[in-house]
């Protein structure tokens, strides 16, 4: 009889509010294996980690460790049972040394214990040696590069005797050489009988490193396969293979002249370096930008909106090269951008709807800086009617509206600038289904009226359903430009960096 798996999840359920993040996940991890977890944005990977590390309680299903069902898992009890998680952004104390950080994780905590400095240092050194990391225990964390910090996290996990190690996109910010170092550590962990749950979007890592792979989609585990028995095409198929559940309004516009034209645009002052972006967007066209989180789509939007300077290439608007140094510049040239994360920067929650809508056009609506409250009210009432914003009138604070209606307020603010190019960054994120399809209809209507729309969305069906053409980004570069009727697998392959550079349709 084979020993019970280290970790076994059966029928795991978890909802947040009305959103079902996990709807029946089965997963098992054996000792001495690397088990990759693969899935689109929002497929449920993070939720799964949170359940296993005890950060969140599942609503249903069982978690067993060493064959023993465990309930009421907390972060502390999960740690005691040998679960450790290495996040993309290590959670270490930057002003303390490596040895101190390790000690904080591993030593029993009592504020009045005398600190055995020498023992701490020796212990840290041993752990670092064990995983082959060449880091001084005396170094302060802030002096270490990100991969070294991850190694410190791994040392902590090893020191705590972790048998289940979760790695959440550990290579996202690593260079090639650093990746190899990390892979060596993963192999070493496996050799010592540790089970590793490895989450990554990079297929070649999964094929190079993992023993088995489980694909999650829409909160369900779709399939678990031995890596040796599967190929890339099949994996991508498993990730995206879902029925279209939503009807998108059909495209009725006939694309006109080229409005926005980018050639070899690059910017390095963004979190993801934007490289060599070339595409055109025509009037009346919805140009979708697909890609995984961190592919650089929002960074590109920030460049186009004048928030980050471009340092190579060219942006042309209706044929004229433009230099965008600030959002004011962008607005003056007819570019508007409805930002991601509307609760933070899209709308000011404390302000009335009307103030929010007039915010980007103060100088035009109020020449001489005297507020014309009547004109502002009329503007707001027009938008409330046009976009059917549900609210108690222009004076209602934006915070009192539902998510979808807040998004419409944010949209109204930027439509008020009468743009030629409208960039929408995740316009339907966190919006209920009804409001979502309303927003889709509005976007269609705007395109029909001659606006060039750039639609950034991590929701693949949305990009496929709404776009006339689709640009796909991966690691800051454009990997494909596909026609609007491209299939999901092609887009996903390009988003994973597997696409050949397609030509504009």
């Amino acid at each position: 009889m084979s020993p019970p798996p280290l970790l076994e999840l059966r029928g795991l359920l978890k909802s947040y509010g009305g959103v079902r993040a996990l709807r029946g996940v089965d997963f098992d991890l054996r000792a001495g294996e690397v088990h990759a977890l693969l899935g689109e944005n929002g497929a449920g990977k993070s939720t799964l980690i949170k359940v296993v590390t005890g950060a969140h309680q599942p609503d249903g299903g069982t978690v067993s460790i060493d064959g023993q069902p465990v309930t009421g898992l907390t972060p502390a009890s999960a740690r005691k049972l040998g679960v450790a998680c290495i996040y993309q952004q290590p959670a270490l104390f930057p002003d303390l040394t490596v040895a101190e950080n390790i000690a904080l994780r591993l030593e029993p905590t009592s504020g009045f214990r005398r600190v055995a400095w020498a023992a701490r240092r020796t212990r840290a050194q041993q752990l670092l040696d064990r995983i082959g990391a060449e880091i001084s225990p005396e170094a302060e964390i802030r002096t270490l590069a990100m991969p070294q910090q991850q190694l410190v996290e791994i040392a902590c996990a090893v020191g705590a005797g972790a048998r289940i190690v979760i790695m959440d996109e550990p290579t996202a910010s690593l260079t090639q050489k650093e990746q190899h170092l990390l892979f060596a550590v993963v192999h070493d962990l496996r050799a010592h009988g540790v089970g590793v749950i490895y989450i990554s979007h990079r297929l070649e890592e999964i094929f190079g490193l993992a023993d088995r792979v489980t694909v999650l989609r829409d909160g369900q585990s779709i399939s678990t396969q031995a890596v040796a028995a599967i190929d890339e095409a099949r994996l991508i198929q498993l990730m995206v293979g879902r029925e279209v559940t939503q009807i998108y309004p059909p495209s009725e516009s006939a694309p006109g002249e080229v409005v926005l034209s980018l050639s070899h645009l690059g910017a390095s002052a963004t979190p993801t370096r934007v490289r060599d972006i070339t595409f055109d967007v025509r009037a009346g066209e919805v140009f979708g930008l697909a890609g995984l989180v961190g592919a650089g789509r929002t960074d590109l939007a920030r460049v186009l909106f004048g928030l980050v300077p471009a340092d190579s290439g060219e942006i042309r608007l209706q044929g004229q090269p433009v230099h965008l140094k600030s959002p004011q510049d962008a607005v003056a040239h007819g570019i508007a951008c409805v930002p991601e994360d509307r609760r933070r920067h899209g709308v000011v929650l404390e302000m009335p709807v009307a103030h929010n809508m007039s915010m980007a056009i103060h100088s035009r609506l109020f020449p001489g800086s005297w507020l014309r409250l009547g004109a502002e009210r009329r503007l707001a009432l027009d938008f409330i009617r046009d976009l059917s914003v549900k609210c108690h009138g222009p004076e209602a604070p934006a915070g009192s509206l539902s998510g979808g209606n807040q998004q419409k307020v944010s949209l109204a603010r930027w439509l008020a600038t009468k743009p030629k190019v409208l960039i929408l960054d995740e316009p339907t994120q966190g919006v209920d289904v009804g409001a979502k399809s309303e927003i889709h209809r509005i976007v269609r209507r705007l395109a029909k009226a001659g606006l060039a729309v750039v639609l950034i969305s991590s929701d693949l069906p949305e990009v496929l359903g709404m776009s006339d053409r689709i640009g796909v980004m991966c690691s800051g570069a454009l990997t494909a430009i596909l026609p609007g009727d491209a299939d999901a697998a092609t887009v996903m392959a390009a988003a994973l960096g597997k696409g050949s550079k397609g030509k504009a349709a």
Partner: protein
């Protein structure tokens, strides 16, 4: 609930205090002492207005007391050297604006936290003034006092000036785009920036305004006595911040009104004379003021928490 609910509740507390006084100590309502009290608090009101603006845009200025002293001494010295009153007034406002510009440049230009910047300038101006004047009073010419008017006419002038300024600033805050910008920057700097407002410019202008108002207030104080005490501004920052907070201006920015700062100041200013008239020992004054401030913040805290949940 009405827009000015918070302001009305402070006004209500003030009303209760006045009713208590009317019943137990009607002597409080004598014209002459009340006029003196109002005139003495008029400069504080001017500064409290400026402080409200600063706090609405999510900054703070604790150097106002030192600015007040510097401006007062400068105006006083000019007057003592036979400069006309108008020149002294302009000098006070100009000095204040310059000092405010220094704060503004450090906060907006170098993006330093205003509490540290103004703490540093507060100590620098105060100690600089001490070193320069060695604590010496500036004795003023006769004609400066009450602008050469009778005492009560002078007092009425000051009260009217402060009142007019309050009304003008409150209207500007509600009806000028600049006012809207102030609230926008105080609530969400990044959203304001995306909408094309320069938060740094707004903040700089606010600090300059704060300085100019402090200069004006210093002049309004100078004309009330025959000499200028170089320590006259001590404690003003706390007094005005307290008034603004009691009046419902949110210390985390973006919320509140000048009317609130006004009623907040009235309430705090009435405590001391009220205690005297009610024969309560003066020691209690600060304790009661502290309790009022605490009550105000607790009320705001409870209110925002309830809204969130």
């Amino acid at each position: 609930m009405s827009r000015y609910f918070r302001e009305w509740s402070v006004a209500g507390a003030l009303g209760v205090l006045l009713i208590v006084l009317a019943i137990f100590a009607p002597a409080f309502f004598q014209a002459q002492p009340l006029l003196s009290l109002a005139a003495a608090e008029a400069p504080t009101l001017v500064i409290a207005c400026g402080m409200a603006l600063v706090i609405i845009c999510r900054e703070i200025d604790i150097s106002v007391g030192s600015q007040f002293s510097v401006c007062g001494v400068c105006a006083g010295l000019l007057a003592a050297h036979h400069a006309p009153t108008a020149v002294a007034l302009a000098a006070a406002i100009g000095t204040g604006a310059c000092l405010g510009a220094i704060n503004g440049a450090l906060v907006a230009g170098l993006r330093l936290p205003s509490i540290v910047v103004t703490l540093a300038t507060m100590m620098t101006w105060r100690e600089g003034l001490n070193w320069w004047r060695q604590g010496e009073f500036v004795y003023l010419p006769e004609h400066l006092q009450w602008f050469g008017l009778s005492q009560s006419a002078g007092q009425w002038t000051l009260i009217a000036a402060a009142g007019l300024l309050l009304v003008a600033l409150a209207l500007a805050l509600r009806h000028l785009t600049a006012g809207r910008f102030l609230y926008a920057v105080g609530t969400d700097m990044e959203a304001a920036r995306l909408a094309g407002v320069s938060p740094q410019r707004v903040k700089f202008t606010t600090f300059v305004t704060m300085g100019a108002l402090t200069g004006l207030a210093a002049m309004m104080n100078v004309v009330q006595s025959p000499q200028v005490d170089p320590k006259s501004g001590t404690g003003l920052e706390l007094k005005t911040i307290a008034a603004v907070v009691v009046g419902g201006v949110s210390i985390s920015g973006g919320r509140g009104s000048l009317w609130g700062a006004f009623v907040g100041l009235l309430l705090l200013a009435c405590i001391s004379p009220a205690l005297t008239h009610l024969h309560i020992e003066a020691y209690w004054e600060k304790a009661i003021q502290g309790a009022i401030i605490l009550l105000a913040v607790v009320a705001d805290g409870v209110r925002t928490r309830r809204k969130k949940s």
